[in-house]
Amino acid sequence: MTADAIRTRIWREEPESGNPFAARAAYCRGYDVYGEMLGRARWVEMLILLFREETPTKAEADLLEALAVALANPGPRDPAVHAAMAGGVGGSTAASCLMAALAVGAGQYAGGREVYLAMEAWNACGTDLDAWRRRFAAPTSEEVSIWPAPQHPPGFDPHGVSTPTPVKQALAGLAFVSPGPRLPWLEQQRAELEAATGLPLALSGVAAAAFADLGFSPEQGEMLHLLLRLPGAAAHALEQRGYGHKKFPFFAVELEGAGA
């Protein structure tokens, strides 16, 4: 064993004879990935196994798979997908389109950080409605960080007036397959929570509850949210590349102040 080893509880490799830099077998959490899992394991089972020690139950795998469908494409109006399309339309590299989607989709408005903050709220409040009300009423932290100061309760839409149908459909569908307890509770208490914030629930709030029901930490939920929203960004980036920049909105400009 070398002093420059990488420690891991996730991955083990055995070398091919004659080449220590090529793996003969790779094991994820002890399971033979190419020898046994491939062809038998679902993608979502592999995904969950990467993040935690034990394989998911069928209900957990079903929940993550349903969530992955809900998150796969935020659609071209979403800022993260918009960013990926802005890459695609100019002929930028594939990775830069996804990096653009990740950077924009990382934020506190419908992004990964919003999911992280909402999951912190789940950890703090659980299924205690009064705890949620107290949290919404409390002033937000003024501690300086790389993130801009939060401007709305995480998991709710600051510009919404009512809960969009897809959000209600996602919540109902995910609550139905969830092992609980958060998604079913959120479905029951949605109106109360929305009344407390004055804002409708957003898809990020549903995703946060789902990740929490799957036993993920806020850090894991943030990562998975970033990851699971990339397919739509990729597809829309390539599509706009095909349409070309003349068919992509450039928008008008109005200079304000001294430059006008």
Partner: protein, 269 residues
């Protein structure tokens, strides 16, 4: 106005005080014609003007240059630089590798995560001291609350070789005696005299110099964004010039597995 009515007002138009490109005629940068009013401007000066809207003297701009140059280390082992270098060895593009390396520099134990905390701490402490508060008490509170003090100590070394040349330059430019630099040094004295044994690091000194130039925490955070950039490019370049895949190769034995022993997927419960 709020909700969808507010959003409807914003549709289809960029309303901006920052600037715009009038392609074929001119570019406006913070209210100024980039090719007329700002003609000949130094790049760092323009960058800082873009962030703050303020103009700085040649001496101040030279100091700001040095904050970047003194911490540009082309060492591919350093975590953020390593990203640029790995992009080179993996034959990715220079832009992708270096952009990712810059993004990674927004870390919590070094780089941007520390930078913004360091300047915020110095500005708050200066206000505390100006209001008659005690410096040692403020530092102790911060250490107790955070278990670390941004701008003091260093994750992988005890000393900081960047401090002295930066202070020498600051003195030569007449910028070493501002209230935040004096405060940063006074905090170091307090920490060394106490049980903490923490020295001022380069991030702390840079933050103090910037605070003395009137930077807010967010302005400073954006200013230091490219601080490591010049050191990253050589890391990418050298890795790209050497045989592919030959930077930091890892054999299977370099993976020290500490997890669950082998088990069967087919027969799992």
């Amino acid at each position: 106005m709020k909700g969808p009515d507010f959003l409807a007002e914003q549709v289809g138009v960029l309303r901006t005080r920052m600037g715009a490109a009038f392609v074929g005629s001119k570019a406006v940068f913070r209210g100024h014609d980039l090719h007329a009013d700002l003609q000949g401007m130094d790049w760092v000066e323009l960058y800082v003007f873009g962030i703050t809207g303020r103009r700085y003297t040649p001496e101040q701009v030279r100091m700001l240059h040095a904050i970047w140059t003194h911490t540009s280390y082309p060492d591919a082992r350093i975590w953020n630089n390593r990203v640029a270098a790995l992009a080179g060895t993996a034959r990715s593009t220079g832009n992708l590798g270096i952009a990712a390396a810059l993004a990674v520099s927004e870390a919590s134990i070094y780089g941007r995560g520390i930078d913004i905390r360091a300047i915020d701490f110095l500005i708050r402490t200066q206000q505390h001291v100006d209001g008659g508060g005690d410096l040692a008490e403020m530092a102790a509170q911060e250490l107790q609350a955070r278990r670390s003090l941004a701008g003091y100590g260093r994750p992988i070394a005890a000393g900081d070789e960047r401090i002295e040349p930066t202070l020498v330059l600051a003195r030569s430019l007449g910028l070493a005696d501002g209230p935040h630099v004096r405060l940063a040094l006074a905090i170091e004295e307090t920490l060394l005299a106490g049980r903490w044994r923490l020295r001022l690091n380069y991030g702390g000194l840079s933050a103090a110099l910037a605070a003395d130039l009137g930077f807010s925490p967010r302005e400073y955070y954006l200013f230091v964004f490219p601080a490591f950039l010049a050191g990253m490019v050589p890391c990418y370049l050298e890795a790209e010039q050497r045989p592919e895949g030959s930077l930091f190769p890892l054999a299977c034995s370099h993976i020290r597995y500490e997890g669950t022993p082998k088990r069967s997927w087919k027969t799992r419960a």
